[in-house]
């Protein structure tokens, strides 16, 4: 849409100045979209014994922290849920933090388009529990 330039005139009277707007128009030129929005959901934790046999699969965080013997292997999956009003692109990273805070089994994946209202996940690699103490699952989603 093409607009007209505003044209105004001034009439000077006895000590008074009157300004008249002869034309005025508004253009809806820019739509500022809301900030990207999403949340992370724990999806599952798999435990394998040292021979590679699957022993347990937890699909709820209600039992955290679960007790797992030293030497067993674990893999975690976390999902990013797109709460935005548009498709989301970004990188999801999931890792274990061992009792010393070191990153273990870290994996990332960059999604070019997570459709609005949907979710996508990333798993850690299988990691051997070689330290006693509390192990955390840590995840972040960056755009």
């Amino acid at each position: 849409m093409r607009g007209k330039a505003s044209n105004s005139g001034m009439i000077a009277g006895e000590g008074a100045v009157i300004s008249l707007a002869l034309d005025e128009q508004t253009w809806s030129a820019i739509e500022a979209i809301s900030a990207a929005n999403g949340h992370l959901e724990f999806w599952r934790l798999i435990e394998k014994d040292s021979s590679g046999n699957i022993l347990n699969i937890w699909q709820t965080e209600a039992f955290f922290p679960v007790n797992i013997p030293l030497g067993h292997m674990v893999q975690a999956e976390v999902d990013i849920v797109n709460d935005s009003s548009y498709d989301l692109a970004g990188t999801l990273t999931v890792e274990f933090l061992d009792p010393d805070g070191s990153s273990r089994g870290k994996r990332s994946f960059t999604y070019s388009a997570i459709l609005l209202g949907t979710q996508r996940g990333v798993t850690t690699s299988y990691t051997t529990l070689d330290k006693g103490g509390t192990w955390a699952i840590h995840a972040k989603f960056e755009v």
């Binding site: 724990f42 922290p65 797992i68 013997p69 990013i80 192990w135 955390a136 972040k140 989603f141």
Partner: protein, 167 residues
């Protein structure tokens, strides 16, 4: 720019036994004998067609309440699982016991075994595996004792019997 970030304290490795539990050998020994099933240390020999079984007791050795259950698999002499039993999951307070028992009819000659698993909120807590008995034809020993007793009695009667007087 980070849109979302979260951490879960998900795993306890070799930590305090909040969710601990184990089969209690003494309870199992006592109750299996009391129930007339068998002595865990010397499984019985039974006739083919009789019942064999086991009672398992799991103890919550943790420090907090937890939901626990027991599964029992009974195996025939060829190792095939002939019966699988699972208790209903129950909330057990620390130091309390959970009972699970299962019986089966032994229709094959040989050693019958059982495998038990105790589960809590930390997953598999303990396992038990053992022989529950041997099924076979129970042969009766020849009653030599009664033959001996009978012989002594008969001999005595012969000796004591009144003799006929000769004319």
């Amino acid at each position: 720019m980070i849109i979302a970030e979260k951490s879960w304290d998900a795993i306890m490795v070799g930590g305090p036994p909040e969710g601990g539990g184990e089969f209690h050998d003494e309870m199992m020994r006592f109750w299996n004998q009391a129930a007339g099933l068998f002595d865990l240390s010397s499984p019985p020999t039974v006739k083919l067609g009789s019942e064999l079984g086991v009672a398992l007791y799991g103890e919550n050795t943790g420090l907090i309440n937890q939901t626990m259950y027991i599964t029992i698999r009974l195996k025939d002499p060829q190792g095939l699982v002939v019966k699988t039993y699972s208790t209903t999951p129950r909330i057990c307070s620390p130091g309390s016991y959970l009972f699970g028992g299962s019986l089966t009819v032994c229709d094959i000659i040989g050693d019958w075994t059982a495998q038990g698993e105790l589960y809590g909120e930390g997953g598999l807590l303990d396992t038990w595996q053992g022989k529950i008995g041997t099924a076979g034809e129970v042969k009766k020993a020849f009653p030599w004792k009664w033959v001996g007793i009978g012989g002594v009695v008969l001999g005595g009667l012969i000796l004591l019997a009144p003799k006929e007087k000769k004319a």
